[in-house]
Amino acid sequence: MQKTQQVQYNRAGQRVVSPEYLLFEAPREKQFMTGSEVVKEAVKRSSVDASVSYPITPQSEAAHMIGELWVEGYVGVYFRGESEFGVMSEVAGCSMAGARTVTTTSGPGTLRAMENFPMWAGSRLPIQLVLMARGVNTPLSIQPDNLEISFLLDTGCMIWHAENAQELFDMIIAGFVVAEQPDVHVPIITAIDGFFISHTREAVNIPPDDIALPPYNPYKSPLVPIDMEMSPGRFLRDPYVMKSNYISYAAHTSWQYEVRAAIERSRPYAKHYLRGLIEEFGDPEGEIVFVASGTAGAQAKEATQIMIHEEGIKARVVRIKTLRPFPYQELLQAVQGAKYIFVPEFNVIGWLEREVRRALYGNVDIPVIGSPRVAGGMTMPPEFIVKEVLEYLGKEVKHVI
């Protein structure tokens, strides 16, 4: 067995500090960088053991830079896999063997890899997937569109949705910490809207690169790690398919519930490390409330500013940071006093609108309007959001152009 004494330095020679120090206390310096570069900086400070990559726009740059970290000695294992299906299985193998593991993908890659995500969750592997959402075929699109997040909602993975490069940086670090809690220990998907974050250059405050998270301790896993340092015994990771009886059904069912319960148990940790599962922005008295996540949240903030300063309409934003677990209580509390709830989204189906309706149904009687909604790579100019709201309210649209 590994000794439990405190590790002073990680394998890359960085000084190990507490997650609290790294996220909240360490001095930070302003850098001007893209979302892809931010992934590198976050991984560099997270004592990551392994990563497997595959090219797909817009996540490729981030994946290249994790490779650079491998060359520089900050990541232990790195290679290009054969496809996203292969990659997600390879990182599963890495995680099973006791590694802190990260990978990245986008759009069609997510869908190709799909079978792996419930397997990760069922195997309780705290892998981090940095998801840079883009449109899925057909027709072919490489543009920003986050439909794929909808497909991931019920895979048994935690899903967080970052608004900008700064939040992505902090979420990647916090993601490892929360996902690896022994009572959580499920995969974490840190999602961003591709291009809007990955390819946008903005100011980001980051701590120095000679400190890093404590290394992952696989011996704290709620399941036995396959590293042969423990006696295997009659060790079973299989589904109980060989016995079609009630015990096998019950085992499967209860494990499915347990995975979801593990996500629920992540709430207090996520709340602490993300400083809340939601962010509230704008006029607290606002009667128009935008409920949004990711880049749609950012666009809603701009729209809110225009409405307050130029239209004299009280408005605010409730930005959802964690999609799984979904912040039911926080949302319910935050929308008190609202007259209308608008849910702007970057996809055609309106998955967040569905989530919001489910959370509010029977609890409050406020109309939920799934608008505006853009997809296939369109941007959502704040002027456009304001126009949609004004039209819905039957007000004159004057300021836009």
């Binding site: 001007f32 893209t34 892809s36 570069e37 726009t57 817009p58 740059e61 830079m65 490489i142 543009q143 920003p144 608004e163 900008n164 591709g194 291009f195 809007f196 974050i197 390819h199 946008t200 250059r201 903005e202 100011a203 880049t295 950012a298 666009q299 903030k301 701009e302 500013q305 790579g377 941007t379 959502m380 100019p381 704040p382 002027e383 456009f384 836009v400 152009i401």
Partner: protein, 240 residues
């Protein structure tokens, strides 16, 4: 005539692939950030090919910027290549679609490329048009048209007067001295330009010289037009 004080400038840069519009956008945002503004830049999100339409965007403001993506309603449009207008190599048609009142268009050209109707429309919005040959400027000052983007950048800051040449220099140095994530195509252009200048510092010097000359030209033109600084300085904002 002075224009109303803005809180934000949204810039759209229609160009063709290989002209360095993405680099110009990143330098512009870096310079504004250095001067204390909030700034964000991003390229057009698509497969960029040499000589095909390429676009990049910058947002500069005195408050935190949340808005991102393509700039649909720009205050400033910087046309890097005449083909944007003459051959419609633009993601929006006409290239000035969405331009805001009191806006500005900078065009890299030696002659007026706009039709009478274009002029009428732009005048109705009080949009100013600044034609100047950035390519010729680059050839004169840097000896290569690869520095066209620097000439465009200088003109923008000269006209808008939001940052001094010190910040522009800082942005250029940051771009060429720091390790920078660039696409394969951008890297090959970088090495081409570096070969040309043999030394990186010489390249930076020439780029700064180009930007400085067009900065002064833009500044002079803005004075003639009676323009003031397009944004309150970050220091003024801090005092308020």
């Amino acid at each position: 005539m002075s224009q109303p004080k803005r809180r934000r400038i949204n810039v759209r840069m229609p160009a063709i692939g290989g002209q360095g519009a993405v680099t110009a956008a990143h330098i512009m945002a870096t310079a504004a950030d250095y001067a204390g503004y909030h700034a964000v830049s991003n390229p057009f999100f698509g497969a960029e090919k040499r000589m095909a339409p390429a676009e990049s965007y910058v947002r500069i403001g005195i408050e935190p910027i949340y808005d991102r993506g393509e700039v649909v309603y720009p205050d400033v449009i910087m046309v890097f290549h005449s083909q944007v207008i003459t051959m419609g190599k633009s993601y929006t048609m006409p290239f000035y679609s969405g331009i805001k009142k009191n806006g500005l268009i900078i065009i890299n050209t030696e002659e007026d490329l706009l039709t009478e109707r274009d002029h009428e429309y732009l005048e109705s919005l009080n949009v100013k048009v600044f034609n100047f040959s950035a390519t010729k400027f680059a050839l004169d000052h840097a000896g290569t048209e690869l520095s066209t983007n620097m000439a465009m950048l200088g003109a923008f800051f000269g006209i808008t007067q939001i940052v001094g040449m010190d910040a522009v220099e800082e942005g250029i140095k940051a771009r060429f001295l720091k390790k920078f994530v660039a696409s394969g195509g951008t890297m090959s252009l970088d090495s081409a330009i570096e070969r040309k200048f043999k030394k990186k510092l010489e390249l930076i010097e020439k780029n700064i010289a180009t930007a400085k000359a067009s900065y002064e030209l833009g500044q002079e033109w803005a004075r003639q037009q009676g323009m003031e600084s397009w944004l309150p300085s970050p220091k003024e904002v801090a005092r308020v």
